[in-house]
C-alpha cells in the first residue's frame, strides 16, 4: 500500500459532489486543495452500480483511504466478516493507503444498527476490540486505524478514561489512530473533560489521520451531526492538534446539509492554513509508514 500519497487536506467523498468533482477532472481543473479522498466504504458494498463506476474514475485522479461504519469493531461476538469481505473486495480494487473504522459496535446477534454505539472502558473491551482489529487487519491485508467516537452514554463499570481506553486499544492492537477532533470536543463538553489534555496524552507517533467536522447543540448537549460548519472551538482545538501532531493528514467530513463544494473547499483552505500553513506541507513519509506498521 502506498501511504505516501495521503498528505495535506482530504475530503470525505459524498454523493452530493461526485458529479462536480468528475466534471472538474474532465475540464482539467480539479480542485487543487483536495489532496486525497476518504471513501465511506459502506456506501459501496454492492456488486455493482454507477456509484462504483464513478468511484473508479475518481480513484484515477486522487489517492484514497477507505472508511467504514459497519465492520463492528467493538462487538463481543467479533467483527462483521460479511462486511469485511465486501471491504476486502474494495481494498483489492481501489488500493487504499489504509482502512479505518470506529471504536464502537454496531449490533449483536446478527443484527445491524446504523449508529456508532459506545463501549464501556474496561479491560475486557480493550481485549475484544484489539483482537477484532488484529483479525480485520490480517483479513484485509491493509493497514487499519481506529477512530474515537462521539458518545452520549457513560457506563458505570468503566475502569479507565476515554483516552486511556483509546491508547490501550491501539497499544494492544498495534494500530494507528484516526483522531476525530470534533468527537473529542463533543465528548469533552458532554462528559466534562479537558480536550487539550486529552490530546496531550496521545503519543505523536500513533496519530495517522485527523477528522474534522461540525456538530449541533441539542437539549443541553452537543450532537455529532456532521451537519454544520466546523465550530470555532473545534478550529481552536485543531490549532493545538496541528502543533502536537505536525504533518498529519486531515479529512473534512460533512454528512448532512451538505453545502456546495465551494464552501467545503473554503473550509479545506482554512484547515490547510491551520495544519500546514500554505502550501500544505508534505508529510514525512518514513514517519507515516512507522505509524501504520507497528
Amino acid at each position: 500500500m502506498d501511504t505516501s500519497k495521503i498528505s495535506g487536506v482530504g475530503l470525505g467523498l459524498r454523493d452530493e459532489f461526485v458529479s462536480e468533482l468528475l466534471t472538474s477532472i474532465e475540464n482539467g481543473c480539479p480542485p487543487n486543495r483536495i489532496g486525497w479522498l476518504e471513501i465511506l466504504a459502506d456506501n459501496y458494498f454492492s456488486q455493482g452500480g454507477r456509484h462504483l463506476h464513478r468511484l473508479a474514475s475518481l480513484r484515477e485522479h486522487w489517492p484514497v483511504v477507505l472508511h467504514s461504519v459497519g465492520l463492528n469493531v467493538g462487538s463481543a461476538e467479533g467483527p462483521n466478516m460479511q462486511k469485511a469481505a465486501q471491504m476486502r473486495r474494495l481494498v483489492q480494487e481501489f488500493r487504499p493507503a489504509w482502512v479505518s473504522d470506529h471504536l464502537a459496535w454496531t449490533g449483536i446477534s446478527g443484527k445491524y444498527i446504523p449508529d456508532l454505539l459506545p463501549l464501556p472502558y474496561t479491560v475486557e473491551s480493550v481485549e475484544v476490540v484489539a483482537a477484532n482489529i488484529r483479525l480485520l487487519r490480517e483479513y484485509l491485508d491493509c493497514p487499519f486505524i481506529i477512530e474515537n467516537i462521539s458518545s452520549y452514554a457513560c457506563f458505570q463499570n468503566s475502569e479507565m478514561t476515554e483516552v486511556e481506553f483509546l491508547l490501550a486499544v491501539v497499544q494492544q492492537a498495534g494500530c494507528g489512530i484516526l483522531l476525530d477532533l470534533n468527537n473529542i470536543y463533543v465528548n469533552s463538553q458532554n462528559h466534562g473533560y479537558d480536550a487539550k489534555k486529552f490530546l496531550q496524552q496521545i503519543p505523536r507517533e500513533r496519530v495517522v489521520q485527523f477528522h474534522i467536522a461540525g456538530h449541533t447543540s441539542q437539549k443541553g448537549f452537543l450532537l455529532d451531526t456532521h451537519g454544520a460548519a466546523i465550530a470555532p472551538d473545534v478550529w481552536d482545538l485543531a490549532t493545538i492538534a496541528a502543533q502536537l501532531f505536525p504533518g498529519v493528514p486531515v479529512c473534512l467530513e460533512r454528512d448532512n446539509d451538505i453545502p456546495a463544494l465551494g464552501e467545503l473547499l473554503r473550509e479545506s483552505e482554512q484547515a490547510a492554513d491551520i495544519f500546514y500553513g500554505r502550501p500544505p506541507r508534505r508529510v514525512c513519509l518514513e514517519a507515516m509508514e512507522d505509524r501504520l506498521c507497528y
Binding site: 459502506d42 456506501n43 458494498f45 454492492s46 456488486q47 455493482g48 452500480g49 454507477r50 462504483l52 463506476h53 459497519g70 463492528n72 462487538s75 463481543a76 461476538e77 462483521n80 460479511q82 462486511k83 459496535w105 454496531t106 449490533g107 449483536i108 446477534s109 446478527g110 443484527k111 445491524y112 444498527i113 446504523p114 449508529d115 454505539l117 463501549l119 464501556p120 474496561t122 475486557e124 473491551s125 475484544v128 452520549y152 452514554a153 457513560c154 457506563f155 458505570q156 463499570n157 458532554n190 462528559h191 466534562g192 437539549k219 443541553g220 448537549f221 450532537l223
Partner: protein, 265 residues
C-alpha cells in the same frame, strides 16, 4: 460481561421497546449523572437509528413517496421500522425495506393494489441498481453465436434485470424513467395484465411495461438457454420465429441479455 451489556443495550434501542422501565435502565449500567441523561441518551440513539432508516426508505421508495404524499409515506415508514425492528447485518442499510410490500399486504385491512405494486416497483429498481454490472450482448454477437455450432455458451437475462406481472397499470410511472422505446411491440396488449420489466443499462435503471409476447419470451430467457434451445424455439412456427427475432432485437437494443462466458455444466 460485554456481550450481555451489548445485548441489553441493543434490546433497549429497538423501537418497539418503548419507554424503558427502571429495571431495564439498570441493566444498561449507565451512569445516572452524566450529560445527556441515560434516558435522553437512549432516546437519542433510538432516534438516530429511526432517522437513518427513514432516510434509506425515502431514497429507495421514491415512487411510493410520490404516490402516497410525504406525510402518509413518513407514517408508513415509521410503522414499518417499528414492525421490522433491527435488520439483519446481512441486509445492513443499503437495501433496507425489502419487506415493506409484505408489511403493507399483511397489516393493511384493505391494501391499495396500486400502492403494493408501486412498492414492488421501487424495490425492483433498488435491487437492479445495486446488482452486478454485466456486459450486455449486442444483436450481431447473438447472430454469430447462433451460427457457431461449436459454442457451449448460453444466453440469459442480465442478473440486474427484474420483472413482475401485475394487473395494475404502472405505465404512468414510466415518464422520464425509460429511454425512448417507440416499438409498437413494447406496448402492453393485454390491459388486464401487465409485465413490468426493470433493467440497468450504462449504470442507469429503467422500467417499462411489456406486451404479452415480449413478457413470455422474457420469462423464457430467465433460464440460461443453449444455442440449440434457441434454434429449436425458432423452428416451432413462423410466428414463434418472428416473435423471437423481435424480442432479441429489443432485448439486445436495451441491454437485457448477456452471454455466459463459462461452459454449461
Amino acid at each position: 460481561m460485554l456481550l450481555e451489556l451489548q445485548k441489553s443495550f441493543q434490546k433497549a434501542l429497538t423501537p418497539a421497546a418503548g419507554k424503558l422501565s427502571p429495571l431495564r435502565m439498570t441493566e444498561l449500567n449507565l451512569q445516572p449523572h452524566c450529560s445527556p441523561s441515560p434516558e435522553t441518551a437512549i432516546d437519542q440513539y433510538r432516534a438516530h437509528f429511526v432517522n437513518a432508516y427513514l432516510a434509506v426508505l425515502a431514497e429507495v421508495y421514491t415512487y411510493t413517496g410520490m404516490y402516497l404524499g410525504q406525510e402518509p409515506f413518513q407514517d408508513l415508514c415509521r410503522r414499518y421500522i417499528r414492525w421490522a425492528g433491527l435488520p439483519s447485518d446481512e441486509i445492513g442499510s443499503m437495501v433496507y425495506g425489502q419487506e415493506l410490500e409484505a408489511y403493507v399486504r399483511r397489516y393493511s385491512k384493505k391494501a391499495d393494489p396500486e400502492l403494493l405494486e408501486v412498492i414492488r416497483l421501487d424495490g425492483c429498481i433498488c435491487q437492479s441498481f445495486y446488482a452486478l454490472d454485466e456486459v450486455s450482448v449486442d444483436l450481431e454477437k447473438v447472430r454469430v453465436w447462433l451460427q457457431d455450432s461449436s459454442s457451449l455458451q448460453r444466453i440469459s437475462l442480465l442478473s440486474s434485470l427484474r420483472y413482475f406481472t401485475t394487473s395494475v397499470d404502472l405505465t404512468k410511472y414510466e415518464e422520464d424513467a425509460s429511454p425512448d422505446l417507440s416499438e409498437a411491440s413494447l406496448t402492453p396488449d393485454a390491459p388486464l395484465k401487465y409485465c413490468v420489466v426493470v433493467w440497468k443499462k450504462d449504470y442507469l435503471v429503467y422500467h417499462r411495461c411489456l406486451g404479452r409476447e415480449l413478457s413470455d419470451l422474457l420469462q423464457y430467457f430467465t433460464i440460461a438457454r443453449t444455442r440449440e434451445e434457441v434454434l429449436t424455439h425458432y423452428c416451432l412456427s413462423q410466428d414463434a420465429a418472428e416473435q423471437l427475432q423481435g424480442f432479441l432485437t429489443v432485448a439486445c437494443d436495451y441491454g437485457w441479455l448477456h452471454v455466459n462466458e463459462q461452459a454449461p455444466l
